[in-house]
């Protein structure tokens, strides 16, 4: 029997975080061919930007992604700074680096949990979700928000690092060094995880180059690529960052899902080291070059040209290209190339020869983006009621104020 049949994974699927469809051609359980059809969640953000001035677009760019929101903001801001030649104080550069690494930590923690969920290992999923709370609390302590931080602005940052935040961040680093072990064990030891991820969704080194994979996906295939090292931005020039590649740890890079998992797990430890360096070397000084936004806006109105911002987001190279026209208030055009865009091209390659059971895992293995929810219902079983968006906002703010007033006492245990 060689008749094949087609099964869609997605657009909405339990194992997937975002709507994307993979049409799998199956022979039994084996995937013969795969077609990936994205496009279910296009929002036209770049178009929306053309009706807004650059400062408004900062907050729009934050909404591109829930997890790597700061990467997108920073990328956009760097593009504008590039074209308008704005300078950034050193302290602001360090704070930006701090945010980037916190975000990387957040993203990788979330991904580790979700990867375990995809192979049916729910315990690790819940562990990952719980650990993630701690870094989100630190982010909240800094910026007042858990997801879209609103920290960066042109020529600096809007929130300063306080001594309490340094203390909380150091506590968080200790916490992760102590508690992140289970995921390291999953990568190194767990027999079921090994059976499920080893030699699954292989992307060879050559294919990774040919299909321009980026970030952890490329590094898992053995490519020593990391923009933090090859083209340092913000404070990364002061901080040595070595690309994490599996051949340094396992002897050889296979480019499979386990390697991608391992790269992310090891990058968590790397991020902790970088965070410590940043906290140790935080210079004194102003956090923003020009606090008056009207002045900034006026200078941007005069600016004319194209600017580039390229950074290493948690998922890979994030590139923004912005064009401003002299005398025009609004952004002329704006191109966002998120890392998933580059990595998703290699999906069909990874699918071939694997099994249906691997499909969601392979899709998740490049860490595609996630959508966010805006409403929910909270109930304690007896006193049920609907919590509106306004109530939620009030409670969130209350929590932030409480935390700032009473000091930080470890989020995960609360």
């Amino acid at each position: 029997m060689s008749a094949t049949y087609t099964i869609p994974v997605g657009p909405v699927h339990v194992g997937l975080k975002e709507p994307v469809t993979a049409w799998l051609e199956l022979d039994g359980e084996r995937i013969v061919d795969a077609k990936v059809r994205p496009g279910a969640i296009h929002r036209g953000i770049e178009f929306m930007a053309r009706e807004r001035n650059p400062i408004q677009v900062i907050y729009l760019s934050e909404r591109i992604c829930g997890i790597c929101s700061f990467s997108h903001v920073l990328c956009f801001i760097r593009a504008i700074e590039d074209l308008a030649n704005l300078s950034v104080p050193i302290r602001a550069q360090y704070i930006r680096t701090l945010l980037l690494e916190l975000e990387r930590l957040h993203s990788h923690l979330l991904w580790s949990g979700v990867a375990c969920y995809t192979i049916g290992f729910d315990s690790a999923f819940h562990l990952g979700m719980q650990m993630r709370e701690r870094v989100m609390d630190v982010l909240e302590l800094l910026s007042g928000n858990r997801v879209n931080y609103g920290v960066a602005t042109f020529g600096g940052v809007r929130w300063d690092v306080t001594p309490e935040l340094v203390k909380a961040a150091r506590g968080m680093i200790r916490y992760y060094r102590r508690e992140f072990g289970p995921f390291r064990e999953i990568v190194m030891e767990d027999p079921v995880a090994q059976a499920r991820m080893r030699n699954v969704g292989v992307l060879t080194r050559d294919d990774a180059v040919r299909y321009s994979a980026t970030g952890p996906t490329a590094r898992a295939s053995g490519l020593r690529v990391d923009i933090r090292k090859s083209s340092p931005y913000e404070a990364y020039a002061d901080i040595p960052v070595e690309p994490v590649v599996p051949q340094d740890y396992f002897g050889a890079a296979r480019g499979d899902v386990l390697d991608r998992f391992a790269v992310r797990v090891l990058e968590v430890y790397q991020s902790l080291d970088i965070l410590e360096t940043v906290l140790d070397g935080l210079p004194e000084g102003p956090i923003v070059a020009e606090p008056n936004l009207n002045k900034v806006l006026a200078s941007l109105k005069k600016a004319d040209g194209t600017g580039w911002g390229i950074i290493e987001a948690p998922r890979g190279d994030n590139t923004h290209i912005v064009r401003l026209k002299g005398g025009d208030d609004n952004v002329s055009w704006w191109k966002v190339r998120a890392p998933t865009y580059a990595n998703a091209v290699s999906w069909p390659l990874m699918f071939r020869g694997n099994e249906l059971a691997d499909a969601p895992l392979i899709i998740n293995s490049i860490d595609p983006c996630i959508s966010c929810m805006e409403r929910m219902m909270v109930t304690d079983g007896r006193n049920a009621g609907v919590v509106t968006k306004a109530d939620l906002l009030k409670r969130c703010r209350q929590k932030t104020f409480d935390m700032r007033a009473n000091g930080f006492e470890g989020g995960a245990e609360r």
Partner: protein
């Protein structure tokens, strides 16, 4: 004079009461399983009675039969699966009480009923006309064929041990193992053999229940609950009860075989109160067995792929059970 009709009536009455109790306990244990599972993951978890609420809710929901389904088999499958799974409990002795139909069927029948439950559910999956359910059903059949051999090996070896070591009662009857502990019937080498068989059966438990590392036919993140994907309403409620019952049944089966400890056996006396105590104590043992071999297993491992699970049963677990058989043979031959 007790007429045959009176005994028949009594058996029907006791049987129905037992089955009602079993369904209630199975759902309760399922709830406890979910709570303990959640607590081990540092979550709060659902209320203990959540499975009951789910069943009640599903009972009131619309029962949808897909257009492309074979209506007869699709509707028959959940009912038949529930019935054959319930029947298992009529052949399992509870504590020092005899099984309701203990004289009518033995371990072989229980294994058949377990297999039939899985088979019937697979038929329901095939009948639903959904390609994903078909994959799930195919996986169920593959999995079943893989774990049947170690299971048969365990049971036939135990029966042979019972026969050769002169345990009282028919060798294939569960009551034989419930009344005399099989651990006392063999020597030191045999204990190792029994340990191998015990572990083999323990590995079969996740496969039979479709939980833990072997939840492959119902893999949520791969094939969206697999063979039950098209079921809804009453049919789904029946299947949920069946899943709870299967965990419960295989745990009770394992308890009767390997953990026959009872107060009556310990003291060597009978009596009403001791029988009642043993009756209750049996469910406690089943609970412990289920917690260890279902809940703990599913908390600590991810899901295997179907060929890996199949290979695991056909090579490793079968090897383990054969080792157990050889060790027990050596023990009995050299006695």
């Amino acid at each position: 004079m007790t007429s045959i009709f009176f005994i028949l009536f009594l058996k029907i009455f006791v049987g129905l009461a037992l089955l009602a109790l079993v369904v209630a306990l199975a759902l309760l244990f399922d709830g406890a399983d979910r709570v303990v599972h959640a607590r081990m993951q540092r979550r709060v978890g659902p209320p203990l009675l959540q499975p009951v609420y789910d069943i009640v809710k599903l009972m009131g929901k619309e029962n949808i039969v897909p257009r492309r389904a074979s209506r007869f088999f699709f509707t028959l499958a959940p009912w038949l699966a529930l019935v054959v799974t319930l029947m298992i409990f009529l052949y399992i002795p509870v504590g020092s009480a005899r099984a309701v139909l203990g004289t009518e069927g033995d371990m072989i029948l229980i294994v058949y009923l377990l297999a039939m439950g899985a088979l019937v559910m697979a038929i329901g999956g095939f009948a639903s006309g959904n390609p994903i359910a078909n994959i799930g059903a195919g996986r169920e059949i593959t999995l079943m064929m893989s774990y049947e051999f170690p299971l048969a090996m365990v049971i036939s070896t135990l029966a042979w041990v019972a026969y050769r070591s002169g345990m009282p009662g028919p060798p294939f009857s569960l009551e034989t193992f419930a009344s005399v502990s099989v651990w006392t019937a063999v020597g030191e080498v045999g204990d190792f053999g029994l340990m191998c068989l015990f572990l083999s059966l323990a590995f079969v438990v996740p496969g039979e229940t479709g939980k833990g590392p072997m939840d492959i036919p119902e893999a949520k993140t791969e094939i969206l609950d697999g063979l039950i994907i098209e079921y809804s309403g009453v049919n789904l409620a029946l299947l949920k009860i069946t899943f709870a019952l299967r965990s419960f049944a295989i745990s009770a089966f394992m308890t009767s075989l390997f953990v026959p400890a009872s107060l009556a056996g310990l003291l060597g006396v009978g009596g009403f109160f001791i029988a009642v105590f043993d009756f209750l104590f049996f469910w406690v043992k089943v609970f412990v067995v289920q917690m260890i071999f279902v809940t703990l297993m599913r908390t600590s491992f991810g899901r295997l792929k179907i060929w890996q699970a199949s290979q695991f049963y056909v090579m490793r677990v079968a090897g383990l059970s054969v080792t157990g058989m050889i060790l027990l043979s050596i023990d009995i031959m050299t006695r």
